[in-house]
């Protein structure tokens, strides 16, 4: 089942056993971090901070958790430039989509 070394068939720098072991250790670390962050975000919400603070903290924690999943489970941290480029472009449009409608038709929320 071993492939000839001339053609690249693995997506990562090496797929030798000890590198997978290292990967697995990272996965476990990320898992524990995700659990902890989940507990933290729920615990903070129990204090019912004011909305703006609550939103900021919750989104910050979610972003950290999401980044861990993306970077390590989805291997984004070691992905190729093309994938980065596509996702970066997507994120730009994602932000535009989230921000512009509410800024445009603010219902009194933002400044006109």
């Amino acid at each position: 089942m071993s492939t000839p070394h001339q053609t690249m068939t693995s997506d990562h720098a090496v797929d030798h056993a000890h590198d997978i072991d290292r990967q697995v250790r990272i996965y476990i670390t990320v898992f524990v971090s995700l659990m902890a962050l989940t507990i933290i975000t729920v615990a903070i919400s129990r204090f019912h901070p004011p909305v703006a603070v609550a939103v900021s903290i919750a989104m910050l924690v979610a972003t950290i958790k999401g980044s861990l999943v993306a970077c390590y489970f989805m291997h984004l941290i070691s992905e190729k430039k093309l994938i980065y480029a596509v996702m970066a472009l997507t994120v730009v449009f994602f932000v535009v989509l989230l921000a512009v409608p509410v800024i445009t038709h603010n219902n009194g929320f933002w400044i006109h």
């Binding site: 089942m1 492939t3 053609t7 690249m8 068939t9 693995s10 997506d11 797929d15 056993a17 997978i20 990967q23 697995v24 996965y27 476990i28 990320v30 898992f31 995700l34 659990m35 989940t38 975000t41 729920v42 919400s45 019912h48 909305v51 609550a54 939103v55 919750a58 989104m59 924690v61 979610a62 958790k65 999401g66 999943v69 993306a70 489970f73 989805m74 190729k80 093309l82 994938i83 596509v86 996702m87 472009l89 997507t90 994120v91 449009f93 994602f94 989509l97 989230l98 409608p101 509410v102 038709h105 603010n106 219902n107 929320f109």
Partner: protein, 196 residues
């Protein structure tokens, strides 16, 4: 002529076709859920009163579900790692666990939804509930889709391991990317709907 780079990596991009394909698909999914989040923002900011998530929804149950989904992401990536380590049996165990955990998520959602319905809380009742049901409903459809794909690779699809193990490993990786994305969406959905 064969279609190249189904498994072999193209030298200048360093990628195979399926990897690009799945990331492009995920990009479109980011925009899909993005539109729903944008809708949530516009409707909530335009609303005079908006209930805090925990006053209507069951936070402990959803927290449990969050842990379930994150765990399923771990088992998913471990399934792929097992294939890289040439341990097919371990792969099947992790893959089955992923599907099972997905099933647990669905069961919990079933209880959540039916409890709402029993108490006369429907999507039509308020915009909070409309957004809740639509967002979690669409997410749930993605969970089901992911489970179907993962079940296929655990079951009949696993035949490919014998004839083309590299391709099979890649396909499991790509299915895993979708599954992690489903988890990622929930990581944002959970605080947005339940905690804020």
């Amino acid at each position: 002529m064969e279609i190249p780079y189904t498994v072999e990596l193209r030298r200048d991009t360093g990628l195979n076709n399926g990897k690009i394909g799945i990331w492009l698909f995920l990009a479109s999914e980011v925009m899909l859920f993005g539109a729903l989040f944008a809708s949530y923002i516009l409707i909530r900011t335009g609303s005079p009163n908006w209930p805090r998530g925990d006053t209507i929804l069951n936070v402990p149950l959803a927290t449990f579900n969050t842990i379930v989904l994150i765990s399923s992401s771990v088992t998913m990536v471990m399934a792929w790692a097992s294939l890289k380590r040439n341990r097919f049996g371990t792969f099947r165990m992790y893959q089955a666990s992923t599907v099972l955990l997905g099933g647990v998520f669905l069961v919990v959602k079933y209880f959540e939804y039916s409890h709402k319905f029993e108490n006369g809380l429907f999507p039509s009742t308020s915009n909070f509930l409309a957004l809740y049901f639509t967002l979690t409903g669409l997410h749930m459809l993605h969970v089901i889709g992911g489970m179907a794909v993962n079940t296929y690779f655990w079951g009949p699809g696993a035949k490919l391991w014998k004839t083309n193990p590299d391709w099979f490993t890649n396909r499991v990786e790509h299915a895993g990317l979708f599954w992690h994305f489903v988890d990622l969406v929930w990581i944002f959905l959970f605080p947005t709907l339940y905690l804020l």
